[in-house]
């Protein structure tokens, strides 16, 4: 197998984008789930969203729980990400045309590896939470199915960040399907990176690499 590109999957020049997305994510969770807001009223209605809201409140509470171990906080955010995002939709989008040519087994293995990868990337950055706040600036429908919620994140450590959340509301079950920070879409960025890996590697190669990334162990005492 050809050696993979040295940099891939959210690395070269991207840590900053990822970091901003995570800050935005944490702040929006605080805003959507932690306090009443325009976004919460529009996006959150019905039984399924009450369930998500409850999970969100638990996660925000845990973010503010002193003495809870880092790994436990990461595990709680993980659970929230699973509830809040449409990981299957994002996973398919990111794989692009390769999704259709994959065997059912490959699709299932890829999806497992991809969601683990995304969950690890985002939850492992939780430790950077430092009192960011989020304000909903505006919202508008996008297409038939989606809402875009524009937000501004104020942070103690630097200039504010503009983040736009694309939320698909189907069957009263709102799910985040993309985040754009300063106009850069996370899903599109990730899709471009995977495409460049797949130019040189098989889909199985991509899956193995995603697995290896998420199989790494955490800091040790």
């Amino acid at each position: 197998m050809a050696p993979p590109p040295r940099q891939w999957a959210g690395k070269s020049g991207l840590p900053d984008v990822h970091r901003r997305i995570v800050l935005a994510l944490i702040a929006v969770l605080a805003a959507v789930f932690g306090a009443p807001s325009a976004a919460a009223d529009t996006v959150a209605h019905g039984v399924a969203s009450q369930h998500i809201k409850k999970l969100g409140e638990e996660a925000i509470a845990s973010l503010r729980t002193p003495g809870l171990a880092l790994e436990a906080r990461e595990a709680r955010l993980r659970k929230l990400l699973v509830e809040g995002f449409d990981m299957a939709f994002i996973g398919r989008f990111v794989l692009g045309r390769h999704w259709r040519t994959a065997s059912p087994d490959q699709q299932s293995e890829y999806m497992q590896a991809f969601s683990e990868y995304i969950l690890k990337v985002y939850s492992s950055r939780l430790g950077g939470y430092a009192g960011e706040t989020l304000a909903v600036v505006s919202e508008r429908p996008a297409g038939d199915k989606d809402m875009i919620v524009n937000t501004r994140i104020e942070r103690p450590s630097g200039p504010p960040i503009e983040a736009a959340w694309r939320v698909r509301v189907a069957d009263n079950d709102p799910r985040i399907i993309d985040i754009a920070v300063s106009g850069v879409s996370m899903a599109v960025t990730q899709r471009d990176e995977f495409a460049s890996v797949l130019q040189r590697n098989s889909l199985n190669g991509l899956i193995e690499r995603l697995r290896a990334r998420t199989d790494k162990m955490a800091a040790s005492r």
Binding site: M1, P3, P4, P5, R6, W8, K11, P15, R19, A69, L70, V82, E83, M87, A88, S108, M111, Q112, S115, S124, R125, L126, G127, G128, Y129, E208, R209, A212, R213, D215, K216, M217, A218, A219, S220, R221
Partner: protein, 268 residues
Amino acid sequence: MTGVRVPRRLTAALALALLAASPARADFEAGWEAYQRGDFAAALAAWRPLAAAGDARATYNLGVLYDEGKGVVRDDAKAVELWRHAADKGFAPAQHNLANSLIAGDGVAADYREALAWMHRAADQGLARSQYTLGKMYAYGLGVARDPAQAVGWIRKAADSGDVRAQYNLGKMHRDGEGVARDLGQSASWFRRAAERGYAQAQAALARRYAAGEGVARDPVQAMMWTVLAARQGLERADAQRRSFAAQMSPDDIAQAEKLADRWRPRP
């Protein structure tokens, strides 16, 4: 007692080492507490001198900070370098992570053969996660010829140590007769072990065993309960399965299964 003459310089070195031991431990702990608080810069500052003095665990932890970009700009090559130092000293988690960087090609050219060698060393030290990954390398033929029997052997070791992914995989291997005799009873019992710990894939697989009555007595309510638990964790396949089971069940049985799922708690 004749006694052994210890050179004075060595005695002094030993005394120094003993003296140094507890402050080093205190520094390590200070780093650990900072890490847990999310103050990664402070963790880095505490661990860096220990790593420079040759402490394998501190060196490994520094590698994790570089790999995840915590308190530093993310630098995969630096992480690999640090893990290699700690791995050479025999620190199993460093051997495991170095092997994974070599599989992924993170910060180093991908090299399955070298990855296999490091994964072997960590697995030989009893690290369940490494035993599992090593088993998968034999199963896929990564860095070595495909060897289903070796694969089962290593995955079984990891499963016995409680690795849920290994337990699930062993369930599949027994179900499919892959590297081991086909045995549906064994298969269901390994799926159950991982399912009871909360592993979604195993919950969905156990649900199918109950639905088909393969390796367990057929039980639609149990099948529904397990697939509901897996679907609640976001497993798409389980969600589809839930709908297809529901089409063949009475509302009372579905409600009963949902109630069981609400009450269910993972085994620690």
